[in-house]
């Protein structure tokens, strides 16, 4: 493990120890700093806190927010709430998959530029269907509109 990584983890440890935070918060911190839950990081924490890694992984696999694989530079999140569903979210997902050339078992593009994710509901039902590109909320999306929006993020590595 490189020095920078150790420092990052040490900082998370200090912060969480000071706040008496729990495993979930620790993992949320790891993910926000490193981008995903890296095995190395979990093992480091397990050793540092004397909590078995299995305990960490129990939590990681339970909550949908945690990712065990690196994610793309841009996160495309399609809302799959009830309203988005009846207003066409499934069609948008298949369009995005087609546009990003994702295979059935793939969520991240080969060039690591995009990751496609689903969310149960972002609570912006009145502008359904909704897609989030990173933090940006796009409302009343259509299959052709989303392709256009995604093109803005392409070609900028």
């Amino acid at each position: 493990m490189d020095k920078q990584m150790t420092e990052t983890l040490e900082a998370i440890y200090d912060k969480c120890a000071a706040n008496e935070d729990n495993i979930i918060t620790v993992l949320q911190e790891i993910q926000s700093k490193i981008g995903y839950i890296q095995e190395e990081a979990v093992n480091w924490f397990a050793e540092r806190t004397n909590i078995p890694p299995s305990k960490f992984y129990g939590v990681v696999t339970f909550y949908s927010q945690f990712h065990q694989n690196p994610r793309g530079k841009n996160i495309v999140t399609v809302c799959c709430g009830t309203v988005c569903h009846v207003k066409g979210a499934p069609r948008i997902i298949s369009k995005v998959r087609e546009d990003l050339k994702l295979k059935a078992d793939q969520d991240t593009t080969r060039d690591m530029l995009f990751t496609l994710e689903r969310v149960n509901c972002v609570g912006a039902c009145s502008i359904a269907p909704v897609v989030l590109v990173n933090e940006k909320v796009l409302g009343k999306v259509t299959p052709s509109k989303i392709v256009k929006s995604l093109s803005e993020y392409k070609g900028k590595p």
């Binding site: 935070d21 729990n22 495993i23 979930i24 918060t25 993992l27 949320q28 129990g58 939590v59 339970f62 909550y63 949908s64 927010q65 945690f66 799959c80 709430g81 009830t82 309203v83 988005c84 569903h85 009846v86 069609r91 298949s94 369009k95 087609e98 969310v119 149960n120 509901c121 972002v122 609570g123 912006a124 039902c125 009145s126 502008i127 359904a128 909704v130 933090e135 909320v137 796009l138 409302g139 299959p143």
Partner: protein
């Protein structure tokens, strides 16, 4: 400006106004004095975003669908020139939308700046907490809440005062109070809007509750998917602490109270009380058997009260205006108002608040303005994945806890999704099962395996593989899952199946026996073809088809080869001339 407003360009409109005012007002202080740029929370009428109020000499005009490039005309004509821009003003439906509502919880939303504690104080903020803490005993507070008839707004509708009295009856060295803001129901955004629009009201409600049961520590468990709400909540907590509304010796009493924020990590089941507690403790969010109830043995084994955001936001009003006033609103057994997220195929989507017991048809046709595109009303889905679908024949139903339960649905947290004739009820039922199946925590067998089997049967029906006897199998299995699951998720997961079979059995039969989807939603049961007279031969469908089932010369009508077609619907979406039809 809630999430919807910002997505619609609310922040850009704000920026433009500030710029225009600066440009126009450098020499002219009068313009600045007249105008106050207000950053308000959600106005409820999200479909018309961005909404802008312009007040000149006390006269308020409301504009709808405002975009940044329209701002300069508003400033020039209306603010400087004094002539309102009539064609951009809101129409009559804006007023029918608002006039048929009774706003208590949402009363201050859209009027005050949620990021300013001073604005909250100006509308009697923290007066209720002060009154409760300085002039009332905890027992009197609980009695008042009981008298008001307030029931939990998170779904179950358990009387709030009674819950508090159970908790307070325990002897313990520590009590906890938790605000459940883990709004997981798809199609619901009441709690997000309340926290984004008036976070201090929730904090004030928590202070009152904490004092009543003797809790010195409170938690807000909030979804990480709501970044704006989390930010505003943090800001509000910080401001409240600085002004002395949180911390030690509140309002000069010996009562100490602090609130911590816990971010959810994306698990629907954590809306269930015992699962939520496990999650705050840092565990996998799995529910446990009740009793013991959290009021007796909750967070870290101590007596704990968990209430919903909306329940807490009601409390300041009850203490400011009195329990009798609150009990005078609503129906016989359900008091007060309910905040509802009215969405789906309806004209006026948005956040509304109506008295309990209002007939369903008034909500849909008066407040909601009827069905979008003048299509036919089919059903309304309430209560999210735990609720059911209510058909046309029950449109006069009063909307309260008892009314909705009587037709096999439930209030839930207050999401209401209107469905029209183009929605397939089998598909809707499958959608909810997909949701509950993937959110099932896996602890108990009926829920883990039962929802999986239900989903398999529904999937096969929508794909044209339905068998004789499937409906009965679904019904039996649904009842078993309902009766034998451990927590509310499993117990209510079959509701969408049970209610859609009850009211829309003919749609299931059409799928199974005739292999047809009457609403033309289930692609696998449809045949796609191209109308010769509509097709211009642009080639969009040809390029969209993943299996090369479309053929045709450029500028001549195309054809679909139904032997190759996999019914994916890509050609239907791609066609700009409505030439692709499905049947």
């Amino acid at each position: 400006m809630g999430t919807g407003g910002i997505a619609a360009g609310g922040d850009l409109v704000m920026e433009e106004f500030t710029k225009q005012f600066e440009a126009a007002g450098i020499e002219n202080a009068k313009v600045k004095e007249k105008c106050r740029l207000h950053k308000v929370g959600c106005r409820g009428f999200c479909a018309r975003d961005v909404l802008v109020d312009i007040t000149v000499d006390g006269e308020v005009s409301t504009y709808q669908y405002i975009q940044p490039d329209m701002v300069s005309r508003l400033v020039q004509d209306h603010v400087i020139g004094g002539r309102p821009v009539n064609e951009w003003l809101v129409g009559d439906d804006y007023h029918t939308f608002h006039d048929n509502q009774t706003k208590i919880v949402l009363g201050d939303l859209g009027k005050i700046d949620p990021e300013s504690i001073d604005e909250y104080l100006a509308v009697d903020g923290y007066k209720a907490a002060e009154k409760a803490l300085t002039t009332m005993t905890p027992a009197e507070i609980i009695a008042t809440v009981k008298e008001s008839g307030l029931r939990g707004r998170g779904g179950g509708g358990f009387p709030t005062g009674l819950k508090w009295s159970f908790c307070a009856a325990n002897k313990s060295d520590q009590y906890y109070i938790i605000c459940n803001a883990d709004e997981g129901d798809p199609g619901a955004f009441m709690d997000r809007s309340v926290i984004e629009g008036n976070p201090h009201a929730v904090i004030e409600g928590m202070i009152i509750g904490a004092y009543a049961i003797g809790a010195s520590i409170g938690y807000v468990y909030i979804r990480a998917e709501y970044p704006l709400a989390v930010d505003r909540l943090h800001k509000a907590l910080q401001d409240a602490k600085e002004k002395g509304y949180l911390g030690n010796k509140l309002f000069g009493t010996d009562f100490n109270f602090k609130i911590k924020v816990k971010l959810g990590a994306g698990a629907f089941v954590c809306g269930e009380e015992t699962a939520l507690i496990a999650s705050i403790e840092g565990e996998r969010g799995m529910p446990r058997a009740k009793p013991p109830f959290p009021a007796n043995k909750g967070l870290w084994g101590k007596p704990t009260i968990i209430n919903n955001v909306e329940t807490f936001a009601n409390l300041p009003h009850i203490f400011n205006k009195g329990a009798a006033w609150y009990a005078s609103i609503g129906s016989e057994k359900s008091k007060g108002t309910k905040v509802i997220a009215l969405t789906g195929k309806i004209r006026n989507t948005g956040l509304i608040e109506v008295p309990m017991g209002m007939p369903l048809k008034d909500i849909i046709f008066k407040v909601g303005g009827g069905i979008e595109g003048d299509r036919l009303f089919k059903a309304v889905q309430t209560g999210g994945p735990s609720g059911g679908c209510i058909p046309q024949q029950h449109i006069d139903l009063p909307v309260d806890y008892e009314g909705l339960a009587s037709v096999g649905s439930m209030m839930g947290s207050g999401g209401m999704v209107v469905l029209d004739e183009t929605d397939c009820m089998v598909n809707i039922s499958k959608f909810f099962l997909e949701f509950t199946q993937s959110e099932s925590c896996g602890k108990c067998v009926p829920c883990r395996i039962g929802t999986k089997r239900l989903l398999e049967i529904l999937t096969r029906i929508t794909e044209g593989e339905g068998k004789e006897g499937d409906i009965q199998l679904l019904q039996e299995l649904a009842e078993d899952v309902r009766d034998s699951s451990l927590c509310g998720l499993g117990m209510s997961a079959p509701n969408p199946v049970i209610s859609t079979i009850k009211y829309f059995r003919h749609e299931y039969e059409a799928h199974i026996k005739n292999k047809k989807c009457p609403a033309k939603v289930c692609n696998k049961l449809l045949t796609f073809f191209i109308r010769d007279d509509m097709c211009v031969g642009c080639g969009m469908c040809l390029r969209a088809c993943p299996v090369n089932a479309v053929a045709g010369e450029k500028k001549l009508p195309h054809k679909i080869d139904n032997n190759l077609c996999i019914q994916c619907g890509s050609c239907f979406d791609a066609c700009k001339f409505s030439a692709v039809l499905k049947e």
